[in-house]
């Protein structure tokens, strides 16, 4: 699509934004893949419409304020990128645009407060842990709270598992085949620390030495995907410094983190850390891809046959094009049958902080996902992202069902240990 975006004025990311607009031919094939278009049915809530709106805003014929409501409604699930034959790098437009817009944006007081709360707690595990505890107390006062804050409370778990920090190094069992560093993540480490433990155990079992830098922090993806580019850069820069260079890979078990860390080069474009970001991003690998490429030992058979529905997290399937690897790993488990979820390409509505900021759309998508999952009658749901796990669990329970929903790596871990899958 033709445009008159002032590329130079927009700084280092201007070129990437302009290129995404350039390659869009407005054919509309992305509409069919877009969760908000499927839910809302209007052109400005489609990828094609948003690209057009962002283009108009960058060109100056619409104001940023005018287009933001529609840009905000984007889940950033990147299903449009998978669907797009023209190769539009939608993410290269969306994240820089959000950052660009955030600079001049005026938010209502309560919305700003809610965002501030998210921004200042979620990326920091200790603060997040305290916030969750406080939030549980605040539930009593829910009716008195402004609507902007209520969805946050509703997402809080009933109880938090005990903090269980990993050691700084876990040695291999048997001969060493590789050495990796593990990103433990922020939110996940508070809500489900067992996923990191499972990751470390499965790696060790398969001959991989795991390094867990103690001073690591949040990878910055949450901030990056919500337009907080400066915070994202600060967080990322910290990890660029504290992660070791002498590892074969930097492993993540959260889809959003993996996708965000692959965006570091664009985030640091034209900045002193650009080279370091390139090297780092090049090493980042989702756990499923790493294990698949490494080749894993076949686990012992599950005690009884289990039907597992694998849910494609958008930030794995669309943002990183990872769909085959987790499935291949799961089917190495004897007695495990994989079933495919209808509309599997469609986002579950979790999408980082989306379920906090656009609760209505998130709820509709969550319900649709639960409905689709239940239609194929699995006994266990597998997913490779903590956000999806939380969201799907909530909506499966909303349908009065109690299916266990486990991280892919947890399933492998339990299979190795001879533990049953049919409970969380």
């Amino acid at each position: 699509m033709q445009h008159a975006i002032p590329v130079v004025e927009l700084g280092p990311q201007g070129l990437a934004m302009a290129k995404a607009v350039d390659s869009c031919v407005h054919c509309g094939l992305c509409l069919a893949a877009c969760p908000t278009y499927k839910t809302l049915g209007e052109e400005m809530d489609s990828p094609r419409g948003r690209i057009f709106l962002m283009k108009e805003a960058l060109e100056g014929s619409l104001t940023t304020e005018e287009v933001l409501p529609y840009v905000d409604r984007c889940l950033g699930c990147m299903a449009c990128v998978t669907a797009c034959p023209s190769g539009v790098a939608y993410g290269d437009l969306l994240a820089p645009f959000r950052a660009h817009a955030e600079k001049t944006r005026h938010r209502p007081v309560m919305e700003a407060a809610a965002r501030l709360l998210v921004r200042t707690t979620m990326p920091y595990p200790r603060r997040f842990r305290s916030a969750v505890r406080l939030g549980k107390l605040a539930r009593v006062a829910r009716p008195l709270l402004p609507p902007a804050l209520r969805p946050m409370l509703d997402m809080l778990p009933d109880s938090l598992p005990a903090s269980a920090p990993l050691p700084e190094r876990i040695d291999t069992q048997g001969q060493r085949r590789a050495r990796v560093a593990l990103l433990t993540g922020c939110v996940q480490n508070v809500l489900a620390p067992e996923i990191n433990w499972a990751t470390a155990r499965v790696l060790a079992r398969n001959g991989v030495e795991v390094v867990i830098p103690r001073s690591q922090g949040c990878c910055g993806s949450l901030s990056l995907h919500t337009g907080e580019a400066d915070q994202a850069r600060d967080l990322a820069r910290h990890n660029l410094r504290v992660f070791p260079h002498d590892v074969d890979a930097i492993i993540t078990n959260a889809a959003g983190c993996g996708s965000g860390m692959h965006e570091y080069p664009l985030l640091f474009a034209g900045q002193p850390d650009e080279d370091a970001a390139q090297v780092f991003a090049h090493k980042v690998m989702d756990i499923s891809v790493f294990l698949y490429q490494l080749g894993i030992e076949t686990p012992p058979p599950l005690p009884q046959p289990v039907r597992v529905a694998y849910h494609d997290a958008c930030h794995l399937a669309h943002a990183q094009r990872i769909t085959a690897e987790p499935r291949s790993l799961l089917v190495t488990v004897p007695n495990l049958t994989l079933v495919e979820i209808p509309e599997g390409d469609l986002c579950c509505g979790s999408a980082g902080t989306y379920n906090l900021e656009q609760p209505d759309t998130a709820r509709q998508l969550g319900e649709r996902k639960a409905h689709n999952i239940l239609a194929v009658e699995p006994q266990v749901i597998a997913a490779g992202n903590i956000g999806c796990i939380m969201q799907i669990r909530k909506h499966i329970r909303g349908q009065s069902q109690a299916l266990p929903i486990l991280h892919t790596i947890t399933i492998l871990d339990r299979a190795y240990a001879g533990l049953p899958l049919l409970s969380e």
Partner: protein
């Protein structure tokens, strides 16, 4: 002003979230898939019910305001380009399947339903909806009806018109009519067939009765590479001469192969100058026998590499590459014009050579992806709209290609419709008498020329009154 009176009447009836009037809401509706034309409508009505559509059309008629019906906005001919002093009636939410009758192989649908969703709904019954435009994951049946859309599989089972049995429509003055019905046959003139392909000039289809077909028992898909487009074209003639009737015969040239490969890794031979895809479908035993025959014909046709789809997944990949090819060309060029001319099949080779020569003479790259079995060419004329004069040069080349198609005894459009983009070429294909009759038919149905004003019929024929202002429809093309 009549337009503002209409808007205030609509505002009184339609909740604001379904009557879009703000700048950021309207901007994304300015273009369909033909982005060289843009027009911002006064409002977009996201119709929720058939009654709302009828109501809106009646109000437009009462206030003499032109309207454009729109589905998913995938027209390549600017067929759903809005009118600046008019409204858009968006039908994409009007997407129910009203009835699915597997025993009689019928589906009654609303216009906003997506083409592929009809086949998805029919699949559990072993049935499908045959017309398969490349945009089928998103294009709507209403749009297919308006433009008589085709697809890759038209050779055997025809275009949209051959699969539409009945239409309930609101005419441009608000009168609701039922054309055809549920039977494969009618008595009297084929009004349903006449409505299909009328590019929205006869009003808005509200309910469409579709014929479904049993899903073929077997498909066999073969890919063959050639060192020239002419050789691939000759292979098509050989297949036809052999008395075979494939479901589809498609050709792609080097540029299109490159783009499609970059897009979906379809596994096309990258070094080929031309690629031929032939697909047989039908009863398994018949397809097997025909396939042996087809294979011999292809082997003797001078093909380089020959590949046969081993399973459904490979077949799907082959078609994904082909169907995404237009959009994939977006990787090669920021802008392009898609042409849709038709030539007699035996003139394919000549037409392709002439396109090549024209491309060289104009210094403009042309990618070719086309329905070879139908002689339906799709030259994609690549240009960079930021370069002054590039669009004009591309349009000149497009015009020359269109005139070549007419000269060879073909048509200016096979399946995309005339829309905005080809109406200036109508006089080259039709005589003044032909066009005069089309205009009088149009005016008999829509004296105020409100429905999709400006599409199909050449500019200058339509002098209309909009509101209190005398306004000539000008050619944006």
């Amino acid at each position: 002003m009549a337009l503002e009176t209409l808007i205030s009447e609509l505002t009184a009836r339609i909740p604001p979230e379904r009557l879009l009037q703000q700048r950021p809401q309207l901007a994304p509706y300015e273009s369909d898939a033909l982005t060289s034309l843009r027009a911002r409508p006064r409002a977009v009505l996201l119709a929720g019910t058939q009654e709302e559509v009828i109501d809106a059309v009646r109000l437009c008629h009462a206030h003499r305001v032109p309207f454009v019906a729109r589905g998913s906005g995938t027209s390549l001919s600017g067929g759903s380009l809005p009118i600046e002093d008019g409204i858009v009636i968006a039908l994409n939410r009007l997407n129910r399947i009203i009835a699915l009758d597997p025993r009689q192989r019928l589906a009654v649908v609303e216009p906003g339903i997506i083409n592929l969703d009809v086949s998805r709904a029919a699949a559990p019954h072993g049935l499908y909806y045959a017309p398969d435009p490349s945009s089928q994951p998103i294009c709507t049946i209403g749009g297919n009806v308006a433009f008589n859309s085709g697809g890759a599989h038209c050779l055997k089972y025809g275009m949209t018109a051959n699969h539409v049995l009945g239409i309930k429509a609101v005419l441009p003055d608000g009168e609701v009519v039922q054309l055809g019905g549920a039977s494969l046959e009618t008595s009297g003139p084929d009004l349903t067939g006449f409505f299909v392909g009328s590019e929205g000039l006869f009003g808005v289809a509200l309910e469409i009765t579709l014929r479904l077909l049993p899903k073929p028992e077997a498909y066999r898909t073969i890919l063959a590479s050639y060192d020239s487009l002419a050789a691939a074209g000759q292979a098509v003639s050989d297949v036809v001469a052999a008395g075979l009737l494939p479901g589809a015969m498609e050709i792609m040239d080097r540029l299109a192969i490159e783009a499609a490969e970059a897009s979906v890794n379809a596994g096309y031979p990258r070094d080929a100058a031309a690629l031929l895809i032939v697909e047989l479908e039908g009863e398994a035993v018949e397809v097997d026998a025909e396939f042996a025959h087809l294979r011999r014909v292809i082997e003797r046709s001078g093909a380089g590499e020959i590949r046969v789809a081993a399973d459904e997944a490979e077949r799907a990949r082959i078609w994904k590459g082909r169907k995404g090819a237009f959009s994939a060309v977006g990787r090669l060029s920021p802008n392009y014009i898609v042409q849709d001319g038709v030539v007699p099949r035996s003139k394919l080779g000549e037409a392709l050579q002439r396109i090549e020569a024209l491309s060289a003479a104009h210094g403009t790259r042309v990618a070719n992806v086309f329905h070879a079995g139908d002689g339906n060419l799709h030259p994609l004329i690549l240009y960079d709209g930021r370069v002054p004069g590039a669009l004009e040069r591309a349009e000149d080349l497009a015009g020359e290609i269109i005139h070549m198609c007419i000269e060879l005894g073909g048509s200016i459009t096979g399946e995309h419709g005339v829309g905005m983009e080809k109406r200036r070429h109508m006089p080259a294909m039709f005589s003044p008498d032909d066009l005069a009759l089309m205009s009088s038919v149009r005016r008999a149905v829509d004296p105020l020329e409100l429905a999709n004003r400006g599409k199909m019929l050449p500019a200058g024929q339509t002098q209309v009154t909009a509101g209190q202002h005398e306004q000539a429809v000008t050619d944006h093309g």
